[in-house]
Amino acid sequence: MAKVLDNPRPTLKERAAKLGGQIQGSQAWNSIFRPGSIFRKGYTDSPRNRSYVIMNSVLYHLHPVKVKRHAVKVSYTLCLGGLSFFLFIILTVTGIFLMFFYRPTGANAWQDIQTLQTSITFGLLVRNMHRWGAHLMVLSVFLHMARVFYHGAYKPPREFNWVIGVVLLTLTLLLSFTGYLLPWDQLALWAVTVGTNMMGYTPVLGSQVRFVLLGGVEIGSDTLLRWYVLHVLMLPFVIVIFMAIHFWRVRKDGGISGPL
């Protein structure tokens, strides 16, 4: 009887804790979670581990280990640059979903969107998120530019990063504009007609540029294919390169600007 009391059967909680310890101490676990990970055994909130969290994560090491104290104030940046990037990620994810259900031909495009909205689970919701997210991204990129200007953050040594930022703004507008045509409804067709007619008035190259972009003298099925490729492949490819330079330059130019 005494023996039983000395060695009671481990409770469920104790066994779970033991199992957890065994898993966390295993070679497989420690090969996945690098030192400093909050999932590792014996994680403590120490300056060393705070640094490791950033250094040992492929995502977080976009950031430096330490940042200026004023830079983490929401009232300084309003998170606008970061949110523009975050919206770009949301748009990529929702955009990939939409690509599964869309064919960029004059005969199919509109019908595919109609089917997506009426017959596909979450199709309407994802399309809404893609469209509203796109408008939001144009807005946040624009506001980000205004914020940077009013803080004088384009001044040396950040002049060139401002120039890259203007390129990113233009690319954002082009991405939005190329996506505008893809639903192939009356709104898309005629909005893009108005937009591209203006392009034709560029001196010297106007009509040639317009011909190349439209794949003909007027908007048609060929335009749809061209703008689709521009929208889902070429412009994202280019904008990702410029974003990489933009973020890299932010760090190389000494972190974000300020304080005022």
Partner: protein, 239 residues
């Protein structure tokens, strides 16, 4: 004992003579010396104590067979204070340390919350408001009015006032070039708002110019892109 070269011995002897000759007036001239008083005092204290040590050491050294090392200074010192260099004069002082915090958790937490908030907003907005999908594209039916996407409505508004080349190419082109050149044209290095009144006004004018044009183009233009009031004729605007 190591052989000391002839010329070094001579130089040490000369220094000793000079020190012996100068020691009488050195005490008087200590006030003019560039060596701080407290260091001189410390040296004196050390040399007076050092004699005793040197005598003891000397006795020991004699026993061993050396005596006071040849070339030692007054009081048996083998080193002398040549000069005192104050720390500020040769160390390159870096600028004041920057007040920094760890990215984790201070920045990542803020970013996480901001991302979450935007996701929630976008999700809820998309849940309740549907994106427009009109009738399939029809080349034979031009809607009235036909409007560009909202961010180009400023240009379309300019189109009502200027030749298409000016409104569609020259003005937006100039705006882009002005934006690109802004950091190179602005020679004012301050980032304080009170020092930048001119650039502040220019940018505000620039932004207001486009904002007003976009708002007019979006809400105050009806059929035929003619001027309307949204509260009288309704809104002719799709996102």
């Amino acid at each position: 004992m190591t052989e000391i070269p002839e010329h070094l011995l001579k130089r040490a002897q000369a220094a000793r003579d000079k020190a012996a000759g100068a020691s009488s007036d050195a005490a008087g001239a200590a006030g003019e010396s560039r060596i701080p008083d407290e260091l001189l005092d410390r040296t004196k204290a050390a040399s007076s104590g050092g004699v005793a040590v040197a005598e003891k050491g000397g006795a020991l050294a004699t026993a061993v067979g050396g005596g006071v090392p040849v070339g030692a200074g007054p009081g048996g010192h083998t080193q002398r204070l040549l000069t005192v260099v104050k720390s500020g004069s040769i160390q390159e002082a870096k600028s004041a340390p920057i007040d920094k915090v760890h990215t984790w958790p201070h920045l990542l937490a803020v970013e996480f919350v901001a991302g979450l908030a935007v996701t929630a907003f976008l999700f809820l907005f998309s849940w309740f408001v549907n994106a427009p999908l009109m009738h399939a594209a029809d080349f034979n039916k031009t809607p009235n009015p036909s409007k560009a996407p909202w961010y180009f409505l400023g240009l379309q508004e300019l189109l009502t006032m200027f030749h298409p080349m000016i409104a569609g190419v020259t003005l937006p082109g100039m705006a882009l070039v002005a934006l690109v050149l802004a950091p190179y044209l602005d020679r004012n290095s301050s980032n304080k708002p009170e020092d930048r009144k001119f650039m502040f006004s220019m940018m505000t004018l620039f932004l207001m110019f486009w904002a007003v044009l976009v708002i007019i183009g979006s809400f105050f233009r009806g059929p035929g892109f003619n001027f309307t009031f949204p509260w009288r004729d309704g809104i002719f605007f799709e996102l």
